[in-house]
């Protein structure tokens, strides 16, 4: 795939995780792929073996969405939320919460699509609202303080881990 590897994972402030990826398609198609259930369930699947039996999207302010993922031998994993802003085909803001939430409270997801020369850059941001949520993210392995230096950390790990640590 030509786009493989251009995924960027960074952070903003101490509570936001930002993911950026460019797709070789016009914005209206990318928007459809993110918002039409019959399209979403074809790609938003996670690791191998998972399917998406439930994908309901009521794309309007105050409307809800609901996703459920399934894999043989594992408990279902579900999440959902309420749309807060919908601007076709460029911006969506929605709350998000996992059923087996490892944190109380909600997170706010923002999806922004920018088109340039026929390509679309998608920026997905997750903002963890509450102190409790941030503490909970810690448990999921994405803790706020680390988030603050996330990109830097990942970079330094890949750069120097073996070189420095193996000397111990």
């Amino acid at each position: 795939m030509t786009n493989a590897g251009n995924l960027k994972l960074t952070t903003r402030g101490d509570r936001e995780i930002v993911m950026t990826r460019t797709f070789d398609a016009p914005r209206n198609l990318v928007f459809d792929a993110f918002t039409k259930p019959e399209l979403v369930r074809q790609w938003l699947l996670g690791p191998p073996g998972w399917s998406m039996p439930v994908c309901e999207i009521d794309l309007r302010v105050g409307g809800t969405y609901r996703y459920v993922w399934r894999k043989a031998g594992a408990p279902d994993m579900g999440m959902g939320g309420v749309y807060r802003e919908v601007l076709v085909p460029e911006r969506i803001v929605a709350s998000e919460k996992f059923d087996q939430a490892w944190y109380p409270g909600e997170a706010i997801g923002t999806l922004v699509l920018l088109e340039q020369a026929g390509k679309t850059t998608v920026t997905q941001t997750v903002l963890y609202e509450s102190q409790e949520a941030r503490d909970g993210i810690l448990k999921s392995g994405m803790e706020q303080g680390v988030a603050a230096s996330y990109g830097r950390l990942a970079e330094l790990l890949s750069r120097g881990l073996e070189k420095g640590a193996s000397k111990s």
């Binding site: 786009n3 070789d24 459809d32 792929a33 073996e162």
Partner: protein, 116 residues
Amino acid sequence: MLETFRALAEPNRLQIVELLLAGPRPVGDMVDELGLRQPQVSKHLRVLSEAGLVDVRVDAQRRIYALRPAPLQELEAWLERYRRIWESNFQRLDALLDHMKAKEKKQVRKKPQTKR
């Protein structure tokens, strides 16, 4: 891994880890480079040590700290897994978008004919 995250959440501690990536160092060295006072640095080193991130050995009068690779490797593996999950999602999306583009082109080509 939770402990690793917690330990690294503090910017000064992350900086200590960065310093140690270049190799083991005595505390005094790090005090100079970090611009912190010795008790602060010692406190941070204690947290890092409790999280299993650093080891200490005593060499003459000096306490020399070194990184322990295991927790960092675990953390790196986690970051990599997270990245890979999303990248595989997005590669599927690449393929889907190619398919959608091809379909749209076909429809555009059809349209003028049906109008005539």
